[in-house]
């Protein structure tokens, strides 16, 4: 019969546990290392974009093509969502304001909520979906099919041609799309008010813009440039650094949308805090 040896048993247990612990520590170290490497990569990517933006050979033609793709081609989507945003907000708010006898405040309330918060955030989220995924998928597939390498060997800086033009176009076009969504949202609000009652166009607009101050508009306009930057940067970073397989194109597009949407909300929160401190 085999004799029970408690010392050997404890030794064996301790060895297994210490191996498990060291494996876990190694895995955590690798994870932390990857995370820090990713952060360093993002910073280097941003620095490279800034450097290439101010280089002599800015790719103007490609920049204008991207402005057309990002700005003009997003107009139908922004028109529909902007109009519905104003219309729905008006129809939902009207009964509550009627209860308080404050229906005359409705145009101003809708205008302020659209300009300060709703139009910038919803438009930016839509752009994150449309533009961010487009950039992630396009650059990702260019990486997979070696088109970015082909650009590099034909003496073209792909960072300057592909990334800088897209990021700059997003920074310029997203604020313009947000202004457009503001205008259509207020127009949609008038349509909503007209459905429920008889409101003159001139009266509605004078009531809408009367309470709007410069400080309602200005911080929202400034933060929209940051929304554009976040969407462009995330879309390009994910696409440009996509893996080699076809699967990575889908991953790049998907993660570009998710991360850009998340960052839009985070940037909005920071912008609201800063604006609140200033007012």
């Amino acid at each position: 019969m085999k004799k029970f040896n408690p010392v050997a048993k404890v030794k064996g247990f301790a060895t297994t546990q210490s191996v498990r612990l060291s494996e876990k520590t190694m895995a955590k170290t690798v994870m932390a290392n990857n995370f820090l490497t990713d952060i360093a990569d993002v910073f280097l990517f941003i620095i490279q974009i800034i450097r290439e933006t101010f280089s002599r050979d800015f790719e103007w033609k490609e920049f204008f093509r991207q402005c057309f793709q990002i700005g003009y081609k997003s107009l139908p989507l922004i028109s529909i969502t902007g109009t519905i945003m104003g219309l729905v907000l008006t129809i939902q708010s009207r009964p509550v304001l009627i209860n308080f006898g404050a229906v005359t405040l409705l145009p101003g309330m809708v205008a302020i909520s659209l300009i300060r918060e709703m139009a910038p955030v919803i438009t930016a989220l839509i752009c994150a979906g449309k533009i961010g995924s487009g950039m992630g998928a396009e650059l990702g597939s260019m990486r997979v099919t070696e088109q970015i390498d082909a650009m590099e060997v034909s003496s073209t800086n792909p960072m300057r041609f592909l990334v800088v033009t897209r990021v700059m176009a997003a920074i310029l076009m997203v604020p313009l799309l947000i202004l457009y969504a503001d205008a259509l949202g207020i127009l949609g609000s008038w349509a909503g008010a007209s459905i429920k009652g008889d409101v003159s166009f001139v009266l509605f607009f004078s009531q809408a813009f009367a309470p709007v101050k410069f400080m309602d508009f200005f911080p929202a306009f400034i933060k929209s440039f940051f929304f554009g930057a976040v969407i462009g940067l995330v879309g390009c970073y994910k696409g440009y650094n996509a893996g080699r397989g076809t699967e990575s194109v889908g991953v790049a597009a998907n993660s570009a949308v998710v991360l850009a949407s998340l960052l839009v909300i985070v940037v909005d929160m920071i912008a609201v805090q800063i604006t609140d401190m200033m007012l």
């Binding site: 396009e138 260019m142 099919t145 088109q147 590099e152 060997v153 073209t156």
Partner: protein
């Protein structure tokens, strides 16, 4: 060989993580010759030519092209050196969003900046005629077959008159007839444009058609070097397995 080496590789090492792809590769490409690099998949053939053009950084060793050490060049000088090198990618790597004409114009506008629009158009028509696709000028890459894409890709590479051509598996994925046509085009390009070429392939028919000299890569090293005839007459089992 009395000719000048245009590409000199000495003790090249390249690894990805723990995987050593090139352990010790040394070779020369001489002016005007076609050097075929054979090897099994994963033997580091593509990595080798990507190190030559600077798409991958070598871990150790030196890669000299026209006496410029690629591993030591800064981005600007590497860009200037790349103007003398043509690279035909395995997938063709045509820009999807551009027409054939725009694909050809892209490197031409950047490398041959002094050309007028008329001269540019003439050059584009000339290379398209050379690859037998003069009528594809306004087509999109998605409208082209695999063989046509390879030809257009070759046209895009030769349009800037490179002195060194690097072909990454030029006949992979093509039918035998189209493969023969591409192999003939490679030798025509060598004669017409006086290029020196490295052709990465495991297509023996293409290798026979194009090679002046051959190299076999195995386990990250040069396994054998010689004339096509030396390879054909070799009794080495690894070489024989390719030529069976």
């Amino acid at each position: 060989m009395n000719a000048k080496p245009v590409v000199e590789i000495k003790n090249l090492k390249k690894s990805f993580g723990n995987q050593e792809v090139l352990t010790d590769v040394s070779l020369n490409l001489y002016e005007g010759e076609n050097l075929v690099v054979l090897g099994k998949s994963g033997s580091g053939k593509s990595v080798l030519i990507k190190c030559i053009v600077g798409l991958l950084r070598a871990d150790a060793g030196s890669v000299k092209v026209f006496e410029n050490d690629v591993t030591a060049l800064n981005r600007k000088n590497l860009g200037l050196l790349r103007q003398k090198i043509g690279f035909l990618f395995q997938s063709g790597a045509l820009y999807d969003s551009m027409t054939v004409k725009q694909n050809l114009e892209f490197p031409l506008r950047r490398i041959k900046k002094d050309l007028s629009e008329k001269e540019r158009d003439a050059k584009i028509n000339e290379v398209l005629e050379n690859v037998g696709l003069a009528d594809a000028l306004h087509k999109m890459p998605s409208q082209l077959s695999g063989g046509m894409r390879k030809r257009i890709s070759l046209a895009r590479t030769i349009v800037v008159d490179p002195m060194v051509m690097l072909y990454d598996e030029p006949t992979t994925g093509l039918d035998p007839v189209t493969s023969d046509e591409i192999s003939s085009l490679i030798t025509e390009v060598q004669k017409k444009y006086k290029t020196s070429s490295i052709i990465i392939t495991h297509d023996i028919k293409c290798a026979h058609h194009t090679a002046n000299r051959m190299i076999m890569l195995s386990k990250g090293e040069v396994y054998m070097e010689g004339k096509p005839k030396d390879f054909e007459n070799s009794t080495d089992p690894l070489i024989r397995s390719f030529f069976m």
